[in-house]
């Protein structure tokens, strides 16, 4: 009913004929001229959150602007023969990076965007290289520069004694490759410019024309710390394209493994936060739990990072009910030790001092930047795809969504702990209620498109595929949670001191590999 009301309102205001999809979402075809107006109406009048932009080059250009309404995904579809579209970033900042990426990868000109240019592809690429365009040879070797990077973003801070400090991409211990430029007058970081895509492997470009099985390998391996989530999201997209419903047991087992992944991911994030504050014992305690979860995962599924399980149609292998129950019990024990850690941390004032009132993101900022996952939930935005677009039986599980209001580092930590606790509870509930049956439905590939989503550990993850007539993957797009949250990271770090920077970074639990793709 919600989507019908929305459709009626948009029809009245813009004269567009919206269509309700099988998954309960809404497709809103709209002209390029109306695009900005429709998007803004959704964002401001109907409180929809911007979810991402999917670009397709197919007989001209098709843009799908995705929004989350309260209970559905809204796709605003606009078409044009030429790669020119109006920019909506000035009205909803969340679209900023999506438009920049599309400009860089597809060569689409977004009129009115204040800051286009080098983004995904770094300066070593010749002007006009658009790897996502049809006809781009993904096998051609990349240019390899000998000269140091000439990247010099315009300095924003003008103050006596101001300077900019470069960090990375190879910077600290065992970290992903990210480059930061921090503008400061000393002590306080006034502006943060993260430069990402050092791990850009062009997975969406090289997937083109590959078999579903081959693309599944990419979906599973482009980000190793949330691999099951993305493999599931991709599988769900393929299933949607082929009109296949997975067996209930497979859906429940997927949820079970996804919660195991979330528990491990959050434990790792907590480990990261503890070690960023230099609290060695707490970091070790969290690291022990993380390793135990990895071993538990390997014991249950044969892989420490849960690779090789999700396939379109269900799961590659069945898991024994007893094994699942035992795993759930062990995970429950680990979660209880995690609670003990949480209690100890809450009593360590030196630890809290580094997190409380540090790295604040307000609810309004989180909304405007379209932040997702635990980061958004710590700033008062309790959107969780497991609840608003339930899948895999989550609707029956009575999921309790963690939410905090402060938006500071401690709020993010509390959300992580709460979600880990909830995951352990779900594991038990799922293991106790596993239905019998097959875990795999046969996939009959057919031409078409499909949207698949999951609530990955880092937040909402959406995959979109178009399959060829011969069943190969024609197009594949990922909207990973880290892309949204990296965009907003600077909000948290700005205005705080240098020494807070690594801590704030740790509380965001970001994955560069997931963002870079």
């Amino acid at each position: 009913m919600e989507v019908e009301r929305l459709a009626a309102a948009l029809a009245e205001r813009f004269g567009v004929k919206a269509r309700v999809e099988r998954d309960g979402g809404l497709t809103v075809p709209c002209s390029a001229a109306d695009l900005a107006g429709v998007c803004e109406t959704l964002f401001t009048a109907y409180d929809c959150a911007f979810a991402g932009l999917i670009v397709e080059e197919r007989d001209g250009w098709t843009l799908r602007h995705l929004f989350y309404s309260e209970r559905a995904i809204i796709r605003v579809v606009s078409r044009s023969d030429r790669p020119t579209f109006p920019s909506i970033s000035a009205r909803m900042h969340a679209a900023d990076w999506h438009e920049r990426a599309a400009e860089d990868l597809f060569g689409i000109a977004f009129s009115g965007h204040p800051r286009l240019g080098e983004f995904v592809l770094h300066e070593q690429w010749p002007e006009g290289t658009n790897p996502m365009r049809r006809g781009f040879d993904v096998r051609r070797p990349s240019p390899r520069p000998d000269a140091a990077a000439g990247w010099a973003p315009p300095r924003v801070l003008h103050a006596p004694g101001a300077f900019s400090m470069p960090i990375g991409p190879i910077f600290s211990g065992v970290e992903e490759s990210v480059h930061f430029q921090l503008e400061t007058v000393g002590e306080e970081i006034v502006r943060v410019i993260p430069r990402l895509f050092y791990n850009y492997r062009g997975v969406e470009a090289i997937a083109r024309g590959r078999t579903i099985a081959a693309v599944l390998l990419l979906a599973e391996r482009f980000t190793g710390t949330a691999s099951f989530a993305h493999a599931t999201a991709f599988s769900r997209a393929v299933e949607a394209a082929c009109g296949v419903a997975v067996p209930v047991r497979a859906a429940r087992l997927r949820a079970f493994i996804a919660e195991l992944e979330r528990l491990r991911h959050h434990t790792a994030a907590i480990h990261g936060i503890c070690s960023s504050t230099g609290l060695a014992v707490a970091a070790s305690q969290a690291a022990i739990l993380e390793e135990e979860l990895l071993r538990l995962s390997a014991g249950l599924t044969g892989h420490r990072y849960l690779f090789g399980l999700a396939v379109p149609g269900g799961l590659r292998r069945d898991l024994a009910d007893d094994d699942c129950r035992r795993a759930a019990a062990e995970a429950g024990a680990i979660a209880r030790r995690l609670e003990g850690l949480e209690r100890s941390l809450a009593r360590s004032s030196s630890f809290l001092d580094r997190l409380e009132q540090v790295g604040i993101v307000t609810a309004d900022e989180a909304r405007r930047y379209g932040l997702v996952g635990p980061v958004a939930r710590a700033s008062g935005i309790d959107r969780d795809l497991r609840v608003i677009l339930p899948y895999g039986g989550y609707a029956d599980l009575g999921l309790r969504v963690a939410r905090e209001e402060e938006g500071d580092g401690y709020a993010r930590l509390r959300v992580l702990f709460a979600e880990a606790r909830e995951s352990a509870r779900l594991l038990t509930a799922l293991a106790d209620g596993l239905p019998d049956g097959s875990v795999s439905a046969p996939i009959q590939p057919r031409a078409g498109e499909g949207l698949g989503w999951v609530e990955a550990p880092g937040g909402a993850a959406v995959h979109w595929v178009r399959l060829d007539d011969d069943g190969a993957v024609a197009e594949w797009r990922i909207l990973p949670p880290s892309f949204a949250n990296w965009h907003g990271f600077h909000l948290a770090a700005e205005g705080f001191a240098f020494q807070d920077f690594p801590i704030i970074l740790a509380t965001f639990g970001l994955a560069a590999a997931e963002n870079d793709r």
Binding site: A90, H158, S164, V185, G186, V190, R368
Partner: protein, 714 residues
């Protein structure tokens, strides 16, 4: 002796004439030659008094109605003249290389004449034996130094700074003059000797008045809190060589005034004045070093640091005065020695640092440390000399700052021997402040040296800096050598200064501090436990007996029987051990490693993809930002500009932020004074309402007041 004085006077006067007659082209070298000769003569005369005891006391002529003009140079005065000579000699040589930059723009002849005149007046101030000549020569010094500060009169900065300095220091001089006149009136004579002889009956109120007037009056010149607003403006605004003199010499003259009146002429009043001096000194030191730490202008930073050092000197003086008043003359003597030792040291290293800053300014064209950096490659000798100065001022052994600052702190710790709890507490607070000051001084000078000479050049000017001519480098190296010499020879410096202050303390710091270790006769070891003497000889304290003159190289404060050694140090032995250890380490490393391994040189590591650009390195402002944040309550920065521009929403184009630290004395004293003055003027202005009746009323009221006063007075 008097002949030498006349020769000095002749060199100054004739030199002025010569300089005025010469074409500008030859003036720099003439100034250098004449200034050097005059400096040598001044040191000769003062040296004779200081080292050999040939004090001067000559009545010149009598001015009817005012009294006799007296030329008198005692050891105390000679100390100041000698210290002035120590700075004037290298600065004069420096001028030969420094002055040509002004040629064709400002008159070099005028500079030369004022320069010599200022030297003459400074050298004569400690030689004035009466109030009248003292005030006249003092004014001469004030005016010539003003003229030298505003030498680059086309720069607004110079003109404004000179004016500020003149106004504030004249006010101070007026206060000090009143104090001197109170003494003179009481003694019935303008001669210092007569004042000294006839000061017995001054009442306590008058003593306090004289103390406060002279301390704060001369304190203006010495840069003491809170009337030092002018100093951070005037010192950097002056040409480089003049800055060195302002900080290295003229500040001392202010101290001289305080010392002459309060230690020599005015009989003690109890511990009060000493504690006031110490308290003001501590506050001066802390405020000075705080502003020095966050300052970006290299010369202004040095000026703030001069304030800090004058504060340390004042703490030493105050401690000495307190000890004397509390009946501990030996401790008083030690504190005085520490204070004057520090003053001389400050003259030397601050002269050095200002010459270094002047060289940087002259070769780069900017004094902003944010825009300097990497100069060690272009100015290696300047960098080395500046480093020695920075180490000295940071009180690191074996350089001179360490010896005197250590002695000052030790003196303060001896407050345990006092009995009054309040006094002890005051000493403890002053000591704590001094310790904090010392730590901040290291921060400040790490910044000054590193941001100027190390790292990347942060501006094209710094990258293209000219090389420094030898005439600029030689004087800095002389001063650097002096820093080391004064640092490792405290056992020679202490007795010299002790003889100068001994006239007032009537106690020997030398005997208390520099035991005669070289002599093993019974007379020398009298009062010392035999075991202790043996122990010290075993430690090698007598090493060098056969070739070292004097009392050896160990400073040691003797206590009672229970603790024979209260504190001890020997920068000379420290230096020797330091060199041995360095040599040993270097030799070991060379033996073990260097011969077999090749040194590979590569680009700086900057994270992988970028080359480190100058604008990506720490600026001076950035380096000191934590101090600014911690002490925000003192700096009280005013935001002059704070703006954000955005293209749309969160697309930011610019964040502009300009803050200015408000100088504490300006906020606490001068702004309220200015507001008060403005308020009074506004009140007066309101009286001028243009109504005839009102004016008639004013005249009538005034008349009544005058009559009433007349009646009361009669």
């Amino acid at each position: 002796m008097i002949a030498l004085v006349l020769a000095f006077l002749g060199v100054i006067v004739a030199g002025m004439a010569v300089v005025l007659a010469l074409p500008d082209r030859y003036v720099p070298r003439a100034v250098a030659a004449i200034g050097s000769v005059a400096a040598v003569l001044a040191m000769w005369v003062s040296g004779a008094a200081l080292f050999a005891g040939n004090e001067l006391h000559v009545g010149l002529w009598t001015i009817p109605g005012l009294g006799r003009i007296v030329l008198g140079l005692d050891r105390m005065g000679a100390l100041f003249v000698f210290a002035a000579g120590l700075v004037f000699l290298p600065v004069s040589i420096f001028s030969a290389g420094y002055l040509p930059r002004f040629r064709g723009h400002y008159s070099l002849r005028a500079f030369g004449a004022w320069y010599l005149a200022m030297f003459g007046s400074i050298a004569f101030i400690p030689g004035c034996g009466d109030v009248l000549s003292f005030l006249v020569v003092w004014e001469l010094m004030s005016i010539t130094s003003y003229l030298l500060v505003v030498y680059e009169h086309e720069r607004d900065e110079s003109a404004h700074a000179g004016w500020l300095m003149l106004v504030i220091s004249e006010a101070g001089t007026l206060a000090a003059a009143v104090g001197l006149l109170v003494l003179a009136v009481h003694a019935g004579s303008l001669e210092f000797a007569a004042i000294r002889a006839g000061n017995g009956g001054i009442g306590d109120g008058a003593r306090w008045a004289v103390f406060l007037l002279s301390f704060f009056g001369f304190g203006v010149k010495a840069g003491l809190f809170p009337f030092n607003l002018w100093l951070p403006h005037a010192h950097p605004a002056a040409p480089g060589n003049v800055s060195a003199l302002l900080s290295g010499v003229i500040l001392n003259v202010g101290i001289y005034g305080i010392v002459r009146v309060n230690i020599d002429l005015l009989p003690p009043i109890g511990v009060g004045p000493g504690l006031v001096v110490m308290g003001i000194g501590a506050v001066t030191a802390l405020v000075g070093i705080l502003y020095a730490t966050v300052e970006d202008d290299l010369k202004r930073m040095l000026a703030h640091s001069s304030i800090e050092n004058m504060g340390i000197v004042a703490v030493g003086l105050g401690a000495g005065m307190t000890f004397l008043a509390a009946g501990r003359p030996t401790l008083g003597a030690i504190a005085f020695v520490a204070a004057f030792y520090h003053m001389v040291n400050h003259s030397v290293y601050k002269g050095l640092l200002f010459l270094g800053a002047g060289t940087v300014d002259a070769t780069v064209g900017t004094r902003s440390m944010d825009r300097l950096g990497g100069l060690i490659h272009r100015l290696p000798w300047t960098g080395l000399a500046f480093l020695v100065g920075a180490l000295s001022i940071s009180a690191l052994p074996p350089f001179n700052g360490f010896a005197s600052e250590w002695l000052t702190l030790q003196s303060i710790l001896r407050s345990v021997e006092l009995s009054a709890i309040g006094v002890k507490a005051a000493f403890a607070v002053a000591g704590a402040i001094l310790a904090l000051t010392a730590a901040l001084a290291v921060t400040a000078f790490v910044k000054a040296f590193a941001m100027t000479f190390l790292g990347h050049a942060r501006s094209p000017e710094a990258e293209r800096a000219n090389r420094a001519p030898r005439a600029l480098i030689a004087p800095m190296l002389i001063l650097a050598a002096l820093c080391l010499t004064l640092g490792v020879t405290p056992t020679y410096v202490i007795p010299t200064i002790d003889r100068a202050v001994g006239e007032y303390t009537h106690a020997s710091a030398t005997d208390a501090l520099v035991p005669p270790f070289f002599l093993t006769t019974a007379a020398d070891t009298r009062g010392l436990p035999a075991g202790f003497v043996a122990d010290f000889h075993d430690l090698g304290a007598q090493t060098g007996r056969s070739f070292l003159p004097g009392r050896g190289l160990v400073v040691l404060h003797r206590g009672g029987k229970e603790n024979p050694v209260v504190y001890a140090m020997s920068p000379a032995y420290t230096l020797i051990v330091l060199l041995l250890m360095l040599g040993l380490t270097a030799g070991t490393v060379w033996l073990l490693a260097a011969r077999r391994r090749r040194v590979a040189r590569g680009e700086e590591w900057a994270g992988g993809v970028r080359r480190l650009a100058p604008e990506m390195t720490y600026t001076a402002t950035g380096f000191s930002q934590p101090v600014r944040v911690i002490f925000q309550a003192i700096f009280h920065p005013t935001v002059e500009e704070e703006s954000r521009e955005a293209a749309a929403g969160y697309f930011r184009l610019a964040i502009r932020r300009v803050q200015r630290d408000v100088y504490l004395p300006e906020r606490l004293v001068f702004r309220p004074l200015a507001r008060l003055a403005a308020g009074i003027s506004a009140g007066c202005a309101r009286m001028h309402n243009g109504k005839l009746n009102a004016y008639a009323a004013y005249v009538f009221i005034a008349l009544i007041v005058v009559i009433a006063v007349g009646i009361i007075v009669r």
